[in-house]
Amino acid sequence: MSGRRLAAPRGSRIDRERTLSFLWNGRPYTGLQGDTLASALVANGVQLVGRSFKYHRPRGIFSCGLEEPTAIVDLIDGRHRTPNARATVVELAEGMVAESVNCWPSVGFDLGAVNGWFAPLLPAGFYYKTFKWPNWHLFEPMVRRMAGLGRASLEADDDRYEEVCAEADVVVAGGGIAGLSAAVAAAQAGAGTILITAGTATGGALGWRDDGELDALAAKAAQAGVRILTRSVAFGVYDHNLLCATERLTGGPRGPRGVLRERLWKIRARSIVSAQGSFERPMLFTDNDRPGVMLAGAADEYAHAYGVACGRRAVIAANSDSAYQVAASLGAAGVEIVALLDRRAHADIGAHVDGVRVLPNTGIDKVLGTSAVRGCVAVAADGHGSRPERFDCDLILSAGGHAPAVHLHSQAGGRLRWLADGAMFVPDGAAPGIVSVGGCAGVFSRDTAVAHALDVGRALALGFTVPSATPCGAGRSLASTRIADARGKQFVDLQNDVAAGDVGLAALENYRSVEHLKRYTTTGMATDQGKTSNVNALVLMGELTGREPAEVGTTKFRPPFVPASLGALVGRRVGRLYRPLKHLPAAEWHAAHGALYEQFGNWNRPAAYPVGGETLHAAAQREARTVRRSLGVFDGSPLGKLEVWGPDAAEFLDLMYVGTMSNLARGQARYGLLLNENGIVVDDGIVARLDDHHFWVNTTSAGVERTASAFEEWLQCEYTNLRVFVTPVTSRYGNVTLSGPKSWEVMAAVGFDAGLSPGSMKHMTMRESALGDVPLRVLRASFTGELSYEINLPVDATTAVLDRLWTAAAAAGGALYGIEALEILRTEKGYIHIGTDTDGTTLPGDIGFGRAIGAKTANFVGRRSLLRPAALDPQRFQLVALSPADGRTQLPTGAQIAASDPPTTPEGHVTSSFWSPELGAPVALGMLARGSSRLGERIRVHHLGERIDAIVVKAPFIDPAGSRLHG
């Protein structure tokens, strides 16, 4: 418990007058306005904040920013949880409730820590090996329980998220001094500029310091009209200069429900400036994961920005000149610097600090203490020289050098080069559309960074050549931060628990490519994306395989740079807006008449109209029976409707459909199958000729968009000489269908034109007519096998006409019927439903259209494919009608047909199956190998271990002569 709050004036970000209470792992604490959850925990002396992913080792707070690998917490708000938040970037708020992750039963007493004893069982490549041998399922329960960090909420998130699209000439990712400079210069030169900054204000890494130049730049930015997005992080660069960022609008416990919580920005920019600074590279030494070991710069920021000391006595393990600034700065804040152990030789050290004992060429051999640092033992870094020396301390600061945040540059396709002096990867030139400035370009000298960024901003605004960056100011660092002959666990990736030994094992097992290294060891694959581990892992792999880091290379950085919440990515596309449903024009009328609505494709349609507590099944049986006995009224408005116009319309439709349409007389209609180029049946429908150059095309309800698109593609791309227009009119016409022997009787009673009577209007014809002043297109076609009228009418007139027809139909003993009854009726007739009875392998010959094809002389889409050997295979599945042998067991839809018990090769399956109210027996359709030649054969249907014998019968089940069609 060595962290503590320092006295004023330390703490530029906190307001000492405003105390905030919060709960951490069930215990009450207080912090100050301006604290992060991490700084408040440190101020309260909380050091142990979590357990590690694989070994469940105790872990503390490691950083002070978005690179945090270990202080991963769940934020809890009643039943809602936000998992995997980084405590270092969570703004503390009154009443906040937060918990450790990966700890069971508690962070202090963790049963999973026994995994440490089983560490040899969890080597690098553990997943690879367990997937291979002996059987992943043996390990799965254990791995699943241990894997994952936080716990997701089981409740729907009722906060809101939104997406904003914006355009900019220049967008700058990062609000530090370099980013600000570039933004100011761009805006002053006339560019529309957006600046994205993670903090509550601009300033970046220097933001907590009292800095006149930064203040002046911020004022200039405001004056020049730079649009500044605070609390925002640019997480991804996508094709054609699309930069995506998330903006956090509310922090901490969410207070009122339904607030706007995050905003996703999609910014299309002419130029992107990456100014995301750099991360500090940690040192590798044994037990470098103990709570109390942290990044040196982070401890400095905690002290000055939050007025929090992370310890009383610190040892600094260094490989960078930056350690000396931290030593001086922390010393001034009241933290005793016991020693500065510099991994580098004297000649490489370019800085000094007064009053601190500096030991060059020295590293940490071991850390003392398990759940908190109690001290360390230092040895000569090269393994020679002086005796080990022990230091008592409660804080070990790691200053391994700089790791420029090259992520956006790399995402955009930019290459990297290795700077041996600074031991860092920097951008190798600019990637298309994106320029790096400041720390992420390797420019660490403040004046140079500002001058370069100003030049870049101006050049981007004015279209001049962009000046290249000259990395400088980082001093010298060694590639390797390890001491020779280090033993024990030196953690490379703290979040995924990858130690130096795992990298060694990967090298030994020849997983040496950087891509293999990453996946084999899982280095850099945790939610921190390896911000503090990637460089050390590469350097180590190079050391072990005798290569320079430049030769090892890096993996390509991929979005997101920081975790993005799913809510932000999804935005408003949730609930009803996830997949908006289409509604019938007479939707309310149906609801008022007892419709039981269900979702069919993207339509909300009546499945049935149950009365008096009927089940769906009972209602559908009654409705189907009524259609056959008297009549039914059906809303067919979703039926796909296209109008095809033009002098070449007939020729075009011949090309599109298996059926011939060009020889239709005016007013005649014909059934057609639509194939794709592979010959597969993709839709069916009815084509009616309204005039010489004008056709009405009905498609399936689900297939209309697909069919209209296919028509357009053929017309625009292949048959470009045809003069044809296709107009989709599905939403312009309602469709009320009457079916049953009394259909015409009811229509006549309502006042429909006598010219529509079955005597004067034949089956498969279409007439233009009118009911009063409502124009109609009436089609006599039937999907039930009964006399049917499909009445197409202006969508606004649908409800009124439906109501009139229903009033008359009800008086005649009719019923409203839904999709369920329609399915029964069409199955009784053996009519197929595309996509139910057919699938992505079905050819027209498989469903009985072989002869129609033979008769057609013209070419049509898919025809050539019907001549391929596979299409002519006699073993193909063909449509059959099926009856259970016992006359009463309904065959389960989807059940496989096979001669012997499974496991075996099926010879077909059941596609549609219903109880026929008319026959008082089950009816079914199915696909069966050689089906058309197996009439009368007994086949065997298998379902969940049961066998049902069935007979291949002749379709249709009802009215084989088809006389009912004519009324």
Partner: protein, 88 residues
């Protein structure tokens, strides 16, 4: 997400378009051999470099047009009408 310049509407986000695959495929006649027909149906070049392909501005004007796109950088080198020959 790319931005694609529709030949009628100008630059729009990729999400407004559908891609129809390679352009300038020659559709063999009905008399073609199984081999030729199979090649036409299933075999496509997959170049690292410029690819000529057709896109439809499905959520816009509905027009199909040709796009010359670099498959590595996604740079769009030109767009041209569907009836125009392949650029050299």
């Amino acid at each position: 997400m790319m931005q694609i310049p529709c030949i009628l509407c100008g630059r729009r986000d990729e999400s407004e378009f559908v891609c129809g695959g390679a352009s300038h495929l020659l559709r063999p006649p009905l008399e073609a051999s199984d081999q030729q027909w199979g090649d036409y149906l299933f075999f496509r070049d997959n170049p690292k470099g410029v690819h000529l392909e057709r896109w439809r501005h499905a959520q816009g004007c509905g027009r199909w047009f040709n796009v010359a796109r670099h498959t590595v950088t996604h740079e769009i080198l030109s767009v041209y009408a569907i009836t125009e020959p392949a650029p050299r």
